[in-house]
């Protein structure tokens, strides 16, 4: 008899022990309860990487107290790995999901490889590919595929056959088709030239020019999941509500507004993995509820909003594993230079000078964060050194005031979405501009209206939320002619051939040291041009997990974190 088949009274009898344990635990928790802390709301996406998996922590990650797996501890099978998040699932469209559904997508589909610029020590983890190499021309990449990747059982009539190079080609074809509006379209269109499947076990990708981030782009869980070709043929509506792949997990249930439950794919090639019997994702309305569920032992991990909150939780519950590392998530100020006063470079420069990044870090990041330029500090090599950054974008309210006066600007308007986590930014921004002698008039728009106008580039100026780019080249496309998507959507209108050439050069430089220098030079050039997209600061991300969650390696904010949940195991009797 399964759990579902037991009567209420049987289950009540079984739970009586659990309730006694709860009361005992309550007494302990009460004794060590921490002070009530600020927990605001925030959108979730994947900024904190709370449910990462794998075996290698991200560089810069600190402070784990977890009894992590050691060679002497053999992984145990069974148990459930239960995580949480805020926001929405928003369907599971594999190539265009921007919401919570991406976590399920990444766990149930395959990727050729798993690799991130943000976790260089991790190297390349092979997934569907078993080996790969770049040819001498530096534009041809050859991937050898495993023969034992087999599609999971499903109710949609997709045969449980091996996944092969034709499926990879079909997936790439779909991503590159402009009409499909996929997440990966921009890098594909910009850098990838063609691809083919010479045989079932070989996939070949040819880039337009040498491209330093090819491996990152094809690892990105938002961009390049590999689907069975007949599943792709079912069409976008079907792909949005169900998953059929050959990944470590398969879907047991997806409930919009509530979460999903994944179970092991019995056809998965790595025998014994995933270790857990279930991977459960619970959706919470906001950060408060998410935290409460963690404190009440309803989930195994939680991503605190800042270091203070993590300290509170660790103080209140002994033995928690804690993780902290750079986050690629940051907020920015976007200016439409087709409109006044942003067409005047002095005004753009004045805004940048009026921004006191330290105040944002102190008030929003609770002292935990770094000022950033066009490339976030999380990209250690490509970001400008702190001292140079401080010179290139100095906080100088007096200087800003002078520039505003010279430009004849005493007030300007800007728009922002009415998301709860942007209110503090708006307040600080308005105050800082006031200190520089201008009145910044905030115009709140509901998220949908704001996003529509942002996409059409019809906003005057805007606070832009939650920028996340897994490679430096994507982050700097904000400064490229045509904007972030290359077709004038979300475009500031900024256009400079010299900048475009510098962006191309940096992304095409394969030597790491030379590439870092190219990105430094690009950023110096950008400051000379008074860019219309200004970044504030990069947060640090935090995560806590219960000590029974083994192999909870922390990958910060990379877009590879969900592909590796197969390594997690639960160390419970």
């Amino acid at each position: 008899m399964t759990r579902e088949e037991k009567s209420y009274w049987e289950r009540t009898a079984m739970r009586s022990l659990g309730r006694r344990r709860l009361l005992g635990g309550a007494a302990l928790a009460g004794a060590g309860a921490a002070a009530f802390g600020l927990v605001g709301c925030g959108d979730d996406d994947d900024d904190n990487g709370g449910n990462g998996g794998g075996d290698t922590p991200v560089p810069g990650a600190t402070g784990t107290t977890a009894p992590q797996a050691t060679p002497t501890m053999a992984p145990k099978k069974g148990g459930a790995f239960t995580v949480g998040g805020t926001g929405t699932i928003g369907g599971v469209a594999p190539f265009s999901s921007n919401y919570g559904g991406v976590r399920a997508i990444a766990s149930c589909y395959n990727y050729l490889i798993v690799n991130s610029v943000l976790a260089p020590k991790m190297g390349v983890i092979y997934d569907l590919a078993t080996e790969h190499k770049a040819e001498a021309d530096n534009i041809t990449w050859v991937f050898k595929l495993r023969a034992d990747a087999k599609i999971a059982p499903n109710k949609f009539g997709i045969a449980e056959r091996p996944l092969d190079a034709d499926d990879v080609k079909a997936s790439f074809d779909y991503i590159a088709d402009k009409a499909n509006g996929t997440n990966g379209y921009a890098p594909f269109a910009q850098y990838f030239d063609k691809w083919d499947a010479p045989d079932k076990q070989t996939f070949r990708l040819i880039t337009k020019k040498p491209y330093a981030y090819t491996e990152s782009v094809i690892s990105n869980n938002l961009y390049t999941p590999i689907l069975p070709k007949e599943w792709i043929a079912k069409g976008a509506a079907q792909l949005k509500t169900d998953i059929v792949g050959a990944g470590a997990f398969m879907v047991k249930s997806i409930t919009e507004g509530q979460g999903w439950e994944l179970v092991p794919n019995p056809n998965y090639w790595e025998k014994g993995k995933p270790y857990v019997d279930a991977h459960v994702y619970k959706l919470f309305a906001d950060q408060v509820t998410w935290r409460t569920a963690f404190q009440a032992q309803q989930i195994d991990s939680y991503d605190p909003q800042n270091a203070d909150e993590m300290k509170e939780l660790v103080k209140a519950e002994k033995g928690l594993s804690q993780f902290s590392g750079p986050s690629i998530s940051y907020n920015s100020f976007w200016m439409n230079i087709k409109q006044k006063p942003w067409d005047d470079p002095r005004v753009r420069r004045a805004v940048n000078m009026a921004i006191n990044r330290k105040e944002y870090i102190d008030l929003i990041g609770r002292g935990s964060g770094e000022p950033i330029g066009p490339i976030t500090y999380a990209f250690e090599a490509e970001a400008l050194p702190d001292d140079e950054l401080a010179k290139l974008q100095p906080f100088d309210a007096g200087g800003a005031k002078k520039l505003f006066q010279e430009a004849g600007v005493s007030e300007f308007k800007f728009q922002h979405p009415t998301a709860s986590n942007i209110a503090d930014y708006v307040t600080i921004f308005v105050r800082q501009m006031q200190a520089a002698g201008v009145t910044a008039k905030a115009e709140p728009l509901d998220a949908g209206t704001w996003y529509g106008q942002y996409q059409n580039s019809s906003l005057t100026a805007s606070l832009s939320l939650n920028q996340q780019y897994n490679t430096p080249d994507l982050a700097v496309t904000w400064y490229r002619t045509g904007g972030i998507t290359g077709n004038d959507r979300f475009s500031t209108g900024f256009s400079d051939p010299e900048v475009d050439a510098a962006i191309d050069k940096a992304a095409s430089t394969l030597d790491a040291k030379e590439r870092a220098k190219a990105y430094h030079d690009l950023q110096r050039l950008l400051y000379k041009k008074d860019p219309a997209f200004i970044n504030f600061f990069g947060l640090r991300s935090q995560s806590v997990a219960r000590p029974h969650v083994m192999n909870y390696p922390y990958y910060g904010a990379t877009n590879i974190n969900y592909q590796l949940n197969k390594n997690v195991w639960i160390n419970k009797a």
Partner: protein, 315 residues
Amino acid sequence: MTRYIIRRLALAALILWVVSVAVFLLLRVAGGDPVIIQQGFNATPERIAAVHKELHLDEPYYQQYARWMKDMLTFDLGRSSFTGVAITEEFRARLPVSFQLMLMTMAWTILLGIPFGVISAVRRNSAPDYGVRVFAVFGLSVPAFWVATLVLMIPAEQWGYAPPLNKTTSIFSEPWENIRQLGPPSLVLALAPMASVMRLTRSQMLEVLRADYVRTARAKGLNERVVVIRHALRNSLVPVITVLGLQFSGLLGGSVIIESIFNLRGLGQYIFAAILQKDFAVAQTLVMFTAGTAVLSILVIDILYVFLDPRIKYT
């Protein structure tokens, strides 16, 4: 009476039609393209145009409205354009949660609001009266979302306890879990209605207790309990019932925040998300459902008057 009901039903239909036009137009003139929100950052203009066509958003408003009305009248509610899930499926899953929350809220309101209002009136200017009045002011003045947040956070901080926050429980298969889950939010949601019912019951009772017929009842030597319950309370209830009806119809709207805080997968949470996501199909349908519930409950209350107060007659 029958004519009255028919007339009221016709009026209800008219109100619902006006609501349908208003919600249809307001969602569209509020700005923002639902397709852009749904399709994400990289959707091409071609893809956006294709989805517009798929969702009939490229048609003139009057055609869109006619299509929606036809679908509503044939109970073909369609799918959420954001999640792709059938609205009827979501509705079926979420309605019991919201309905139970509303019923439990009304149960708290009636079971606590009326008796304490009566006690407060009967024992005027005593400690219980002061207690009830203070509680009523508290219930009316503190925002429910604040109380809800504290109700959720304090036990979690102090004892590591929280109601089930991410599952849908059934009163039939998991009664204890279900009460743990819906008890606290319904109590929080009932705070304000309970307080107003307490105050209203108290004031109505005070008025009635001074009436001649109550004095006569007492002079006849009737037991005080009989005087209060049978003679005074019944006559005090008509305005209370009116208020209860209005409160019930407004609960679905009020539950939006409470459902979100307690992570209940109900209709309030669904409508809130739909409005934010510009999910026209879902938002329109749910607003119509909310309006329908309000209109119907007001009608039911009007009919109940007849039974509560024989002096009232509808023609």
